[in-house]
């Protein structure tokens, strides 16, 4: 009896010790989580003040550059030769381009900050309306759109629209040299996941660059307009939905973009509107 009691007491005291250690560890973990949370809050605030200063301070010198070169053009044009005038135009264009870059970057950073609600989005309709806008405003081009019907996704509607617009813009741009340009949108199922795709038959790209397609300011075709922000924005938005995006392509044979929006609970392909 006595022996058993001693064994039991020993066991109890060992358990208590273990528990104490576990408790201490938990406490430490809790502290380090709090620390992380504070650090995160701090870095978020830093980011905000950074973007604020970008929005205000970086624009101001650009206005001077554009303003004074424009003023030289207005008031001193007679004193300048053709080359001089050309240089001033270059300064003015560069400052405006820089300003668009800043705007693009700011937009990109704001996507990350915005709080929004997830809802059901009829992606097919969205793609169709964006396609119509492009066809209306750029009537010189004729691009065939093939859009799969009744694709419903769950996500942030305004962000999904930006995502699709950027992908379509990309496809629209890189099919400009193709006579029978075509852009296909649809989705396929793979192991319960819905993979959306947007394919074009444009200039395509070299697969060895595939990893860098979505980097900020990464431009792969110098002879096409662009700032290198569109696809970076797309990636940011997909990530915001907990998903991922990748691309496949071949030089001269078009590009295909695939993405998954992971936070969807289910996708009802025949869900209609």
């Amino acid at each position: 009896m006595e022996k058993q009691r001693q064994i039991l007491e020993k066991q109890v005291s060992e358990r208590t010790k273990d528990l104490k250690v576990a408790n201490q560890e938990l406490g430490q973990q809790k502290m380090s989580i709090q620390k992380y949370a504070e650090a995160l809050k701090q870095s978020n605030e830093d980011l905000e003040s950074f973007s604020y200063s970008v929005s205000h301070d970086l624009r101001t010198p650009l206005r001077s550059m554009d303003g004074f070169s424009q003023m030289l053009l207005d008031e001193y044009k007679i004193k300048l030769d053709k080359r001089g005038i050309d240089y001033l135009h270059r300064i003015s264009n560069a400052s405006q381009r820089m300003s668009r870059l800043i705007d693009g970057l700011l937009k990109l950073s704001r996507f990350a900050r915005n709080e929004m609600h997830i809802s059901r989005v009829n992606v097919s309709d969205m793609v169709r309306s964006i396609a119509e806008e492009y066809q209306q405003f750029m009537q010189k081009r004729s691009v065939k759109f093939v859009i799969q019907d009744h694709i419903i996704a769950e996500g942030y509607p305004s962000l999904i629209r930006v995502l699709l617009t950027n992908l379509i813009d990309n496809a629209w741009k890189f099919t400009s040299q193709v006579s029978d340009a075509e852009i296909d949108f649809g989705c396929q199922k793979n192991e319960g996941q819905t993979i959306y795709y947007l394919k074009d038959n444009g200039v395509g790209f070299d697969m060895s660059y595939a990893d860098h397609l979505f980097d900020v300011f990464q431009r792969h075709h110098d002879d096409y307009e662009g700032m290198g922000i569109g696809l970076a924005t797309v990636k940011r938005i997909v990530q915001r939905h907990g998903g991922r995006i990748w691309a496949e392509g071949k030089v001269g044979e078009g590009a295909s973009f695939y993405f998954i929006l992971n936070n969807e609970k289910h996708v009802d392909k025949n869900g209609g509107k």
């Binding site: 604020y52 929005s55 301070d57 206005r63 001077s64 003023m71």
Partner: protein, 146 residues
């Protein structure tokens, strides 16, 4: 014309030069008083500091106010303007590089009459300044002796 003053609160000498050139070019003949920071703006409006001898019966027809200013920032200047019965009705246009939503909201909360983002594009900037001056200096009317 001499009592139709435009008060330009601008700390950036380039923007000041551009704004004044635009006004001259469009034959807007109002006197433009330029102050370089928020505290100087308040001194001017309330006849303090180096403006102690100023005739306070003459108030600007419009204040063009930047938000990010040395010493006292634009929103604080605006708050003080609205607080004081001498300047309560003074038209204040926020003219700033910032397009941050919270600056916009704060400005209107404080009683700004208008909020204009300074465009980088000079042609657009020119149009903005010209229209602002024409509207506020020529068309707009405020109650007298409030």
């Amino acid at each position: 014309m001499s009592n139709k003053i435009i008060l330009l609160v601008e700390d950036n000498p380039d923007d000041e030069e551009l704004t004044i050139r635009i006004l001259k070019k469009h034959h807007i003949l109002n006197d433009v008083v330029v102050v370089r920071d928020g505290s100087e703006a308040l001194d001017y409006l309330f006849g303090e500091g180096k403006y102690a001898n100023r005739d306070l019966n003459v108030m600007p027809v419009i204040v063009m106010l930047d938000i990010k200013l040395p010493k006292v920032n634009g929103l604080e200047v605006l708050r003080r303007i609205r607080e004081d019965k001498r300047t309560k009705w003074l038209p204040v246009v926020i003219l700033t590089s910032s397009d941050e939503e919270r600056d916009l909201i704060e400005s209107y909360k404080m009683g700004a009459n208008s909020y204009v983002r300074k465009p980088v594009d000079f042609i657009q900037f020119q149009q903005a300044v010209e229209q602002l001056a024409l509207y506020w200096a020529l068309l707009n009317e405020v109650p007298k002796g409030s």
